[in-house]
Amino acid sequence: MELTGAEIFVECLKAEGVDTIFGYPGGAVLFIYDELYKQQDKVNHILVRHEQGAVHAAEGYAKATNKPGVALVTSGPGATNAVTGIADAYMDSVPLVVFTGQVPRHLIGNDAFQEVDIVGITRPCVKHNFLVTDVRDLASTIKKAFYIASTGRPGPVLVDIPKDITTARCEFHYPNEITMRSYNPTYKGNKRQVRRAIDLMLEAKRPVLYTGGGVVLSGAAHELTEFTRELGFPITETLMGLGAFPSMDKQFVGMLGMHGTYEANNAMHHADLVIAIGARFDDRVTGNIEKFCPYAKIIHVDIDPASISKNVKVDVPIVGDVKHVIIDLLEELRSREERPDASALADWWKQIGEWRKADCLKYNQDMNAEIRAQFVIEKFWELTSGDAYICSDVGQHQMWAAQYYRFNKPNRWINSGGLGTMGFGLPAAMGVQMAFPEETVACVTGDGSIQMCIQELATCTQYHLPIKILCLNNGYLGMVRQWQEFFYQKRYASSYMDALPDFVKLAEAYGHVGMRIEKPSDVEGALKESLIMKDRLVFMDFITMQENNVYPMVPAGAGHNEMILV
């Protein structure tokens, strides 16, 4: 039987097992929306209030579930509004399929109403993109899009569909499998390199595991934990990797990098072996590359060959899927008679214990003074036993959430790491809450970030999403202000957020619960109350200390051993 392009579109989503998509309608996608309306019991469409929100929500969904997120937007401004989310997904390797409407084929290139070359615009920030030019290619293109997005190093794939394709007809056939001669990701690591890596681990005196988002994406948290315990080495995680290894485990030395712990960064600096797994030596992690890990040999496991030796020269590269490679490493380790050097490790742990004594994350909450943002996060962590999904925006609150919410499970920490997109948190939380309606999902945000996608409060009302919003309100773009304090002699250029709205009234206007919390002694009570209101979105506006800084810090240009403590 012949189907229209719009019908094929919905059939493809069903064939891919997509149950939820996030989108916003417009002229070019009206036939698709009409079909979604007819089949609303099959595919649940969530109407966002801005296309950026659709893509971030799809990202949140994908990051929490490791399944591809799906967004649907119209041509022109619908498509350009989606670009920030697409770029965000590209930087953080989020599996995403974004469908954009396009003007009818005969109008392409004609400067038609709501026409943009979105394939051209997004080319540098997608894993791949397609313009469908024949309805007979639609099904196979969608199959390819899901395949490319979710295999290898995941990433966003955009499919641009001209309006007349959605009404054209052809026989529908959805391919079960697809092979592409130009795209064959490597999953298995090279055996010889695996043996060399284990040789180095057995010789090491001061080893450290440095793991990243790749572990979470690969679903390898369990394998990583087993391997790390077998080795007995210290482990540090990047911002994207948090939760892969239980944070409360004594082998965990905290996050590394610009706002990493003193012990993690010093362990990296003094290590003689760094085992990088699913991490990409980002500049926020390495600090000054000239001063990075001066004494260490480096093993690097990554599915993307281009990540290896991009920023830092690597001694043992292993290209492969993190999960496969860790399983092979573990097997190789267990097949050996030698064990890691216990006496050297004991000395190494003793040294790490010395660094831990600096207690670099300590802060003092005077119960009679202003609320410290750190205190709010720590209380929330206690009350949720470290099991909530924390979706963060970007700035100081993001770093505090990373430092003080100790994640024990992977996929619980949902943030914009690579692109650093303010406005990510709330829509991402919607995506997570859609995926896990019964779980506690929180959005940790600031008075700046929350206003970048605040319109999504309406989406939360429409779909009854009981997100807990922890707004750490300091009246400033806090991270900008912190840098201005440190490096621009306190000239706070445009970082003071004058004319903040009354967030309580704003939340109420959207039909939610709003609270303003001004005293440290009220923090715990407010958080508890919000958790009791299981079916309501609660916007908690915490009025916090204005000039509070994120410590410790590796200043720009410095090495890991040159941290500012307080």
Binding site: G120, R123, I148, R181, S182, A306, I308, S309, K310
Partner: protein
């Protein structure tokens, strides 16, 4: 160091701009670029000449591999290889003496004069880059009206080949 990179890619709309875009986005330099379909019409063969340290070229090759449309990549610097470029050069021969002199130089360089008028000779010349440079230089006493160069094409010698 100069590297000649051969790329076999899907002959699809946008494939060329993915390659060109990669170079501009990552700040790599393109000295020349030439592309056309192969005996297999679904594939295009591109020769791209770039400059960079070994680390940069290694990264360029990896980034090219990462493009979904790219099927195979070969850095010809790692192989014994042949490189050729084609040039059209249009020279004014309005002075009597010029006709003979230009014809003689063209013969010396094994060029072909492919178009002639009273005032203009158009010469076709193929060779490696330095030969073409030398020919342009040899014609410096004449009025060069137009130079069209194809950019280098490369192929590995012997058994090595870039095929699917």
């Amino acid at each position: 160091m100069r590297h000649v990179i051969s790329i076999l890619m899907e002959n699809e709309a946008g494939a060329l701009s993915r390659v060109a875009g990669l170079f501009s986005a990552r700040g790599y330099n393109i000295e020349s670029l030439t592309v056309a379909p192969t005996d297999d019409a679904t594939l295009s063969r591109m020769t791209l000449v770039t400059r960079g340290s070994d680390e940069i070229v290694e990264q360029i090759v990896k980034q090219l591999h990462k493009l979904i449309d790219v099927v195979k990549v070969m850095d010809l610097a790692q192989f014994s290889h042949i490189e050729r470029e084609m040039m059209f050069i249009k020279v004014a021969v309005d002075k009597n003496s010029a006709c003979e002199a230009v014809k003689r130089l063209s013969d010396i360089f094994r060029g072909n004069i492919i178009d002639v008028t009273d005032k203009m000779y158009t010469i076709e010349l193929t060779g490696d880059r330095s030969k073409l440079d030398a020919f342009v230089n040899a014609l410096k006493d004449f009025r060069i009206v137009e130079v069209v160069r194809s950019g280098s094409m490369g192929i590995a010698r012997g058994e090595s080949s870039l095929r699917v």
